[in-house]
Symmetry: C2
Subunit: 188 residues, 2 copies
């Protein structure tokens, strides 16, 4: 028997990603988000949702570009700090000692210390309500060689991304391998 919890933003898993952008003065800015996900395979796109009150919202509207920076769990404190303070008043790169790298493909900075970064150009802007959704075309993925498998793809056990529980507001790490997709469900 299921219990009704009401209309809430509970969905497991949610990501904990850091979005990079430039402001109108060209200052690199970063913000932590949990509302986002891949939304198209061709063209490859990733969606992120931001409140219009955030500093990053204005930056992305202006520059039409952003990066999604995927942290390893070892960066959890920095990720959380980046989600607490505003880029309007704080230089988050300076405070976290993280390093902005200018993307040569999109008008946004990515974070050197994060294992995987996604460079995006804004394709659609959807005003939903409190949040605006930016759908960005993925122009390139860049990853540290240390998180790649033998085929050159990212290995989630090496990336060790953060997973956000929207129910309790807690970060988790990735767990054990359950099985291969398009495989374990095949009927014998």
């Amino acid at each position: 028997m299921k219990k009704s919890l009401g209309a809430k933003t509970l969905a497991q898993p949610a990501p904990a990603w850091v979005v990079g952008s430039y402001d109108t003065q060209g200052k690199p800015n970063i913000m932590t988000i949990a509302w986002g996900g891949i939304c198209c395979s061709q063209p490859p796109c990733v969606a992120i949702s931001l409140r219009s009150a955030t500093y990053t919202h204005g930056c992305i509207k202006e520059r039409k570009a952003y990066t999604v920076n995927i942290p390893s769990a070892a960066l959890a404190k920095e990720v959380d700090y980046i989600g607490i303070v505003s880029g309007r008043t704080v230089n988050k790169f300076g405070m976290t000692k993280l390093t902005p790298v200018r993307s040569v493909l999109v008008d946004a900075p990515y974070i050197k210390e994060f294992p995987v970064v996604i460079e995006c150009k804004v394709l659609h802007i959807v005003e939903i309500g409190l949040h605006t959704q930016f759908i960005g075309e993925i122009v390139d993925i860049k990853a540290e060689e240390s998180v790649l498998d033998e085929k050159g793809m990212t290995d989630i056990l090496k990336v060790k991304p953060l997973i956000f529980d929207t129910g309790q507001g807690v970060y988790y790490s990735i767990g054990e391998r359950i099985g291969k997709a398009f495989s374990i469900g095949k009927l014998e």
Copy 2:
């Protein structure tokens, strides 16, 4: 030094969710997706992306409603099977021995055996490319009492959701607790 991997749909973590809908004849249908995420807090919304070739795509366009069913890792084989075959030719509920429950709030079925279900009414449809994104307003969350914490919210360690690694096409479980959001990043 980062390596360029090209324009790919690599983002960690991605969910493994099962979307429920009714077809034009009222037959309950289910489909596994990894492209989705929460996209707005007010109104609470969750986005899912489907190829127009899928059976579910037509069902949702017709009924303007769907459910997002969050599996526990113990349901991984069923989740994978639901992602392999098409509802056009197979009765996936029958084959998996899962039970459709008619939602009283939206025109879509949810899955009795899944610990958390999200009932949605379609608010926006965004044609992106190969995938169409359906933005659904969350009308209610229903969860088994066994996955709730003492405050009545879902606890991800009890839900034990699947996490999909888009890089290797592998399902993982949730791992260890890293820390509390809006807390571990506070400067002392």
